[in-house]
Symmetry: C2
């Protein structure tokens, strides 16, 4: 065994540990070889060599070329064949293999090593001249396309022309002589397009092919894919040079892809597809619709048994569901790749839970196997089972979940409409790696061809998008931009719904339902609860949301925004009267009307929470949010001034005067939050009264209630002191009158930098802190979210001026440091201080990990993110240990 060039590893030298160096495919080929599994021998040129290639002006270095030659000699020894030999030529496949899988994104060349002489030897050796020339013409086409960059359709046209000339209906009808003619014509194409003769030197073929595969790391679709999946562009790909095996040597041969478990449902049963007498690319590219793996049992029973044995060995070894590529050459099974299988969210959850039950993995490992976004996805909407749906077609259920959108027929158009805010469904014959941007943009994908492992299916599952594949009943007319199925015609722009869980296609936007958690998901979440330190609460402003949060396992309400209660259409007029009241009597009247409404809200929320704590934030937004828009009003008044409507004019002018008076330069930093509470005490008094009247009523009914009053936008401890006294006065009086001794807490949103910097002072007075990281991010960054996102923030994220949108993922360096500092200094003076977070970050896994790190007591997020947060909190704990 050679050890001369460590930019190259024979498969025997490879192992999974070397994945960063060898790429996923190379490492797995090494690992399988070491396990003694049937792998065609070969070598891996490392990812480091890829970087050397780029450093060396996109050429292999001389050292590397020498290394390849040396390893090739070993390979010849192992196989007993010789590269470029006229009798028994060694044929090679050249495949990319990145550290992080990028299926179909980079290039592959097969049958390398054939030339005008070797093809003759190969024909003799296989005793099948037609097959040999078929391999040769395929090789020339791939080489021309991948290495010489000749557009694929030119070869396709050559093939079509020949078929027409000889009257062949399909490829199989072509004779050996036809294929020889095709080889000749392909060589002409190469000469014409690339200006060179097709290289006959196998070593030249090999070196340029390796270079081409390295070069494909930076093709456009690969770059888009890495951007979409946040893969580092500097990783590079390895190249695997492997002895060819042939699935297309007759009906005792074949090729396929098998998953050790069902990647869509997670069911523990071999799942996959194969095609007899075919090469691997035929399955992946979805050109022919393959057969289910289960039928192999009958077609080639021995091979099937061997496959079962091998897949069990692999899952046992890797302790995770495997996605395996295999080829059968004349009844002999070969493994070409194994990797951890991509799976749907549902499958990920089921597999993780099952594997714990099977004793394959521990609970903590299972918790890490499920991604928070998996939980989020299974919480996605499904088609309402109560609704009668008219199914116009049915395809393969390639990626679960339902999706509705306007039909588009091209990836570019999907992207364009998405940017305009439309939801679109991408409908296509089949997607290719070039369509990746369209899949990203679409709500879901519907294809008429291809199977469960076709490009569209794999990519959609990875992204958690709904996908229906191989829906052959649909006939697309790209010219007039419509498709016909039965007697239904669907035009571009029409609404369509697909159910990726069943494969059904329906016209229109079908009503969806809220999802339920599977048993396995409940299991995973229960385990998560056992592991996590962080509490999980929900943000909910009404009874139904509170109820949903309770079902999803919330430990309380972390933020109940009372302004949403003011926004209901029947309440806005009363709120406006309150704001515009000229006398105490008018104000009093409006408040008297609002109080029972608020009380009812609180009763519902308290009831739903069954005694778990409910943090109610007193009114926060500036009052002018409840009033008509200033510019609209200016327009109305100006119009009225030109009309005769004197009465109305007077009224509107008066309203305009008040709206102008309340208008603010920067309402975000203006007269809102506790400032309102301090300056207009009646509003908070009404709210506190409503909260405690609701609580008292329920307690008297024997229910448990745990109210927590949250004062918003505190910037100075004196604001808190002033309001705490007022809240206590109202609450204690009501409790005293009711003869109850109900415990309650009074705390504050920490959402201004000054509150963070003086957290020690505030903590002396407050029972709890809840970080309002939305506003804290606005003030800490000086970003008005409304203005920033459209005007510069998207650009900043795109150009990497900011690593992420800080409104989505908590900014650790700035906002996070403030949160951490405030938590520590608050706890120092008040060790009992309860600390949580109730911004949108409370449901975002990376932010949750930071909250765990800062030692917060809980995160609070939207009800649908509660399960996500439960898992993310457990993962944060496990990862930090």
């Amino acid at each position: 065994m050679s050890a001369k060039n460590k930019d190259i590893y024979s498969f025997e030298e490879g192992s999974l540990d070397l994945k960063p160096l060898l790429g996923g495919k190379g490492a797995s080929l090494g690992e399988m070889t070491t396990l003694g599994l049937p792998v065609p021998p070969g070598m891996t040129v490392t990812t480091e060599a890829c970087n050397l290639y780029y450093e060396n002006n996109e050429k292999l270095t001389e050292e590397l070329k020498e290394g390849i030659k040396e390893y090739l000699i070993e390979l010849e020894e192992k196989t007993g064949k010789n590269f470029g030999d006229n009798d028994s030529p060694l044929l090679l496949s050249i495949r990319s293999g990145a550290t992080i899988s990028m299926p179909g994104m980079m290039d592959t060349i097969l049958n390398l090593g054939l030339n005008d002489q070797a093809v003759e030897g190969f024909a003799k050796e296989t005793n099948d001249e037609r097959f040999a020339y078929d391999c040769y013409r395929r090789f020339i086409q791939m080489f021309g396309n991948v290495v010489l960059k000749i557009e694929g359709y030119k070869f396709g046209r050559g093939l079509d022309e020949l078929k027409e000339e000889v009257g062949a209906e399909n490829d199989l009808a072509l004779t050996t002589e036809d294929l020889k003619e095709l080889v000749s014509r392909y060589k002409e194409i190469i000469k014409d397009e690339a200006g060179i003769d097709f290289p006959q030197d196998p070593m030249e073929q090999l070196i340029t092919a390796v270079e081409a595969v390295f070069g494909s790391w930076n093709n456009k679709r690969a770059i888009i894919y890495r951007d979409a999946h946040e893969i580092d562009h500097s990783l590079g790909t390895a190249v695997n040079i492997q002895t060819m095996v042939f699935g297309n040597m007759g009906d005792g041969s074949g090729t396929g892809v098998v998953f050790t478990r069902n990647p869509s449902t997670g069911e523990n049963k071999l799942y996959g597809e194969y095609l007899l007498n075919a090469q691997g690319e035929d399955v992946v590219a979805g050109i022919r619709t393959p057969q289910s793996i289960q039928t192999l049992k009958e077609q080639l029973p021995e091979v099937f048994d061997q496959l079962v044995e091998v897949t069990e060995t692999l899952e046992e070894h890797y302790k995770d569901m495997q996605d395996i590529e295999f080829t059968i050459e004349n009844g002999q099974l070969y493994l070409l790749q194994t990797r951890t299988g991509k799976r749907t969210a549902k499958a990920a959850i089921k597999i993780a839970a099952d594997m714990v039950a099977e004793g394959l993995i521990e609970i903590d490992e299972a918790l890490l196997r499920v991604e928070p976004k998996h939980i989020e996805k299974v919480l996605h909407r499904q088609i309402d089972p109560e609704v009668e749906t008219e199914v116009i077609a049915k395809g393969l259920p390639a990626s679960p979940g339902a999706a509705s959108g306007e039909v588009v027929f091209s990836a570019d158009e999907a992207e364009e409409l998405k940017e305009k805010g439309k939801n679109v469904l991408l409908v296509s014959l089949e997607t290719t790696p070039e369509d990746i941007h369209g899949v990203i943009a679409a709500e879901g994908v519907l294809t008429t061809r291809g199977g469960m492992t076709s490009h569209a299916a794999v990519v959609a599952r990875g992204m958690g998008k709904s996908c229906v594949c191989g829906c052959e009943g649909i006939n697309i007319d790209f010219e007039v931009e419509e498709f016909v199925v039965g007697d239904t015609t669907v035009k571009k722009g029409d609404n369509l719904t697909i159910n990726g869980g069943t494969g059904e296609v329906m016209v229109g936007s079908v009503k969806m339902t809220e999802p339920k958690l599977s048993e396995e998901c409940q299991q995973i979440l229960n385990w998560a609860d056992e592991y996590r330190d962080l509490g999980v609460r929900a943000n909910a402003d009404n009874g139904p949301d509170a109820q949903k949060a309770y079902e999803f396992g919330t430990e309380g309400i972390g933020l109940c925004r009372t302004e949403h209660m003011f926004m209901a259409p029947d309440r806005v007029p009363i709120v406006q009267k309150l704001i515009l009241s000229e006398s105490d009597a008018e104000k009093e009247e409006a408040l008297t009307k609002l109080e029972p409404m608020q009380r009812q809200d609180f009763e519902e929320i308290f009831t739903a929470l069954k005694g778990k704590p409910v943090t109610v934030r007193l009114l926060d937004p500036p009052l002018h949010e409840f009033l008509p828009d200033l510019t609209e009003l200016v327009k109305e008044v100006t119009e009225l001034q030109q009309s005769d409507a004197n009465e109305e004019l007077k009224e509107k002018q008066e309203l305009l005067r008040k709206v102008k008076d309340m208008n603010e330069s920067n309402p975000m930093l203006g007269f809102r939050g506790c400032r309102l509470g301090i300056m207009i005490p009646e509003i908070y008094e009404m709210q506190v009264s409503a909260i405690f009247k609701a609580a008292i009523k329920l307690v008297k009914e024997g229910k448990e209630v745990e109210p927590e009053i949250m004062l918003p936008l505190i910037t100075h401890v004196n604001e808190f002191k002033t309001l705490r006294t007022r809240v206590e006065k109202v609450a204690d009086q009501l409790l005293e009158e009711a003869g109850l001794d109900l415990e309650y807490k009074i705390g504050t949103m920490i959402e201004l930098p000054r509150a963070c910097m003086t957290a020690d002072q505030i903590a002396e007075e407050a029972d709890f802190f809840s970080f309002g990281t939305n506003d804290l991010t606005q003030t800490t960054f000086g970003f008005s979210r409304d203005d920033a996102e459209s005007k510069f923030l998207h650009y900043y994220v795109e150009k990497e001026l900011l690593p992420e949108n800080p409104f989505i993922s908590l900014d650790a360096d700035g906002v996070g440091r403030l949160v951490n500092l405030a938590t520590d200094s608050g706890r120092e003076v008040n060790p009992d201080l309860k600390v949580g977070i109730c911004g949108e970050h409370g449901g975002e896994p990376k932010s949750i990990a930071l909250c765990h790190e800062y030692g917060l007591n809980y995160v609070s997020c939207s009800p649908y993110r509660v399960p996500v947060a439960r898992l993310a909190a457990a993962q944060a704990k496990i990862k930090s240990e």
Copy 2:
């Protein structure tokens, strides 16, 4: 000597060290007694006793009453008189005496100890029955007014009625019998109003009088005064019980106030006023216009010599200018009080400088003696000497500086109009402590009566307001609200100007000039420069301001705001074209026009600074600030829609569309600062080009230039990196083309909390930080200054929710901590980092002290505050040592 009750101190026990306990007057009486100076004996009831009084429901405790009795026995022994004695009664004055002087704000009672018997004994002893009864009637009036809260005018009316009945033209015309009758009538008033007989028991008189003086600590005018002067309301006042001496026992008697130096100019010459045959209150209240102290030399030469000797002793002892109250009783000089004399800013500066020259004090002490606001005041405007003024009257030059405003005749009205934003001049016969709010509200005060030490004069000097006193030529008709002088009538609301430095009164608003620094002031500032560590720079946006700053001793420009250069009326249209440009060509055209204009600005500023560093901040405000107002435009378009002006409508609609497009919810946190620079590179490129073309031109002319480019509103280090690269590209190319090797710096405003929290990251890239504490205060507090001040901030400060307006005085706990933290963490990674502050706080003494504490390199403030900052910086250094 008794030591029984340490809530009481005899003067022999008192000293200046005990000022917090004994109050200013009590401590100085003690100190003077100890120095052997002629002080009528007495005792001081302490400020702690005042607090005991309030704790004891506004009554003296029994212990305290006993204590007073015991000390009284000692006093009787010392004086040989007996309290309430029928032959030689001990008469007492009862005066307040707070730790911090509050002249005239609290109550005083004189002649206490008189009753129907004692007055007879006192008459015999003084051999002046009329005098004794005059004292008695005065005592009853004061007691009735102060202790029994009977309104003063009721006694005044009694006096007037009697004078009318007996045909007396003035008080002096009343006979002994008249005064006896008056005593009788006053006792009737007491009986009628208070429902009690006038108390004959001297001890009862004494105890209730002490209680009344303690009670006067919390009278309305005292509270207003303390609010205005930021005096702690919990300090309490002491009460001084002192043997009476009488300045009104004939022409060998008198009373006066003397300053050891001129409190208006600082001249080292005895200065003051006295009245013969008068009691002290006559001088202070300004009822009679007193004589200059220099005339005493002729009237009572021996007393004058004694006075000179005593004042020299006192100034030598206190090492500061003294304000001394004295009484002459039958040729015998008594000192009633000495305290550090209030003085004008001009006097404070001159006295401090002179006393160093005289060897009385050290330089550091002199620097502490001058308050930063003194420097600010001497920088106040004066009447332009070039202007011909028509002086309509002349009074006493009571407090220097010139002032213009609308005439008002009552303190209440002064306050009302001031709140409406008007500048007013308060014109009155004389001010009383009740008028304090009017003096605060007015630009200046003009009185027709009273002297240089009258209430109006003292208060105005303390506040640095212009004041002209005793302007007897003016006749006010309060009924019709006007005054007449000669043949000029000035009505309420007319503009008037006074010159407090000359006593002149002029009709209209007279043109003022910018002040110059006196020699002594220059001396003080030069000493300050020697002491201070903090550099002082100026904020200036144009040549003249930069020139002024240079004259005032700036060490550079800390903030040159380039947007002001965009706001000039001839430039705004070009700036609008730039903003609204639809094509690159239009944009280019606008920029090409603007660049030479900016270049000219920079040339002027660089030239004025003579090689000192100039920090230029690139464009900061949101661009829509340069466009028409949105609501105005909506109004215009709506109006045009109803007219036939189609062409104009179209144009305005297009403009409206753009303005709407650029409109922001919170422009303060929106598309401005470096965000503009990043998204629209051409603007900053033009500005950098203008700066360096100006610099290159001047350097080629042999001048020195030190440009510093400041990038505004950096929140993430990546913004800084991006812009630094762009700035360097433009600058270096211009310098290279010019063949110059000019050093320049690139730094940033730190004005967002995130920049503070990540200062270490930014400091790795930046050459300097300049804290923009205006914006930093807005984001740290979450206060939009525009909205906050009118809507809640004034209330917050008034109600002490905030200790101070954080936009005026740097908030140490929040904003200050961020500044400190950012400075430290920035310097840790970049020890050469230059750190300054350029918010408005840079010229505010308390904030400057914080900047010194944080170890900043410099403060930058408006040119007129540069001298203030130089002194404040030195004081911060001296105080921190």
